[in-house]
Amino acid sequence: MPKSGMANVRVYVTLKPSLLDSAGRTVAVALKKLGFDEVEQARIGKLIELQVDEPSDARVREMCDKLLANPVIEDYRFEVVR
């Protein structure tokens, strides 16, 4: 039986805007080649889905700071989906 306090936490980790995302750049070029001329830029990040019992914002931030994101190169944000 799932615990009643279980929630999904979606953590989005993205490269800092100041950093060149060389893979994203290639994706943007590929989209243009496919005829999607309206694409100006593509940046690739990560979505990490956690299942957490009674998630607290402070604890999720700690998870991000300690492991899920590298503050030197990445930003993160998260949402709790109950």
Binding site: S18, S22, A23, T26, L67, N70, V72, I73
Partner: protein, 230 residues
């Protein structure tokens, strides 16, 4: 002098490092498993290349939280000599022992070739013995060094830049910046100069039989560390 060569699941330059240290540098060297917690009896640490933990999440991220790394952080903060090559460099950055981070090469491809390195810092044990432009191989997909402007200024002022990619005759030109690193940086030191991280593989350049011995100019720095000093 005994060197600990760390092994993580996915390390693949550990044997190269062990034998380069034993045969060519002339040190005692032993493997230390990532789940061990002690560096007792060791005078230096070599963190080898590879794909620790399959490079999951970010290169070096999982390894930087391995049990042995707690001891490595303490060892390094106490002034113990630590060198990390390739994945070892990534692990040292992730562990917070070195400034900056390593991301996907500018050209996105895995690059396996020889590069030329100029030593910038000339006072650390790792760079003091470098007498010329070094030719050493690289083999990495995520070796583009990035750091913000403020930290870049700080590491430049504090002489923490160990090596830059240069042309064979020692000029800093963009075509020789193999992976698009900020400032063509190939290796950095911590503030006190005892910890070196670099993307090139000095342990692959220690035998004439293999074509070059320039890696010894870096690894021989271990001989400057007084035996039994720790």
């Amino acid at each position: 002098m005994k060197v600990a060569v760390l092994r993580f699941p996915g390390s693949n330059c550990d044997q190269d490092a062990l034998w380069a240290l034993r045969d060519d540098v002339g040190m005692r060297a032993e493997y230390v498993w990532h789940e061990d917690r002690s560096l007792a009896g060791f005078d230096a640490v070599f963190i080898p290349g590879g794909f620790s933990y399959g490079d999951y999440l970010r290169c070096g991220a999982m390894a930087s939280h391995s049990p042995i790394m707690e001891s490595v952080v303490k060892f390094a903060r106490d002034g113990g000599p630590v060198i990390g090559a390739c994945n070892g460099f990534q692990i040292l950055c992730e562990a917070g022992l070195l400034p900056g981070a390593l991301v996907l090469n500018e050209g996105q491809k895995f690059i396996c070739k020889d590069v030329f390195l100029a030593a910038e810092n000339r006072t650390s044990i790792w760079t003091r013995g470098v007498e010329k432009v070094l030719r050493i191989p690289i083999a990495h997909g995520e070796g583009r060094y990035v750091v913000d402007d403020e930290i870049m200024r700080r590491i430049e002022d504090n002489e923490q830049i160990a090596f830059r990619y240069v042309s064979p005759d020692g000029r800093q030109v963009s075509e020789h910046n193999a992976n698009g690193s900020a400032g063509a940086i190939a290796g950095v030191l911590n503030e006190s100069g005892n910890v070196l991280g670099l993307m090139p593989h000095p342990e692959r350049a220690t035998k004439q039989l293999l074509g070059y011995t320039d890696g010894l100019q870096i690894l021989n720095g271990l001989k400057l560390v007084a035996i039994g000093s720790r």
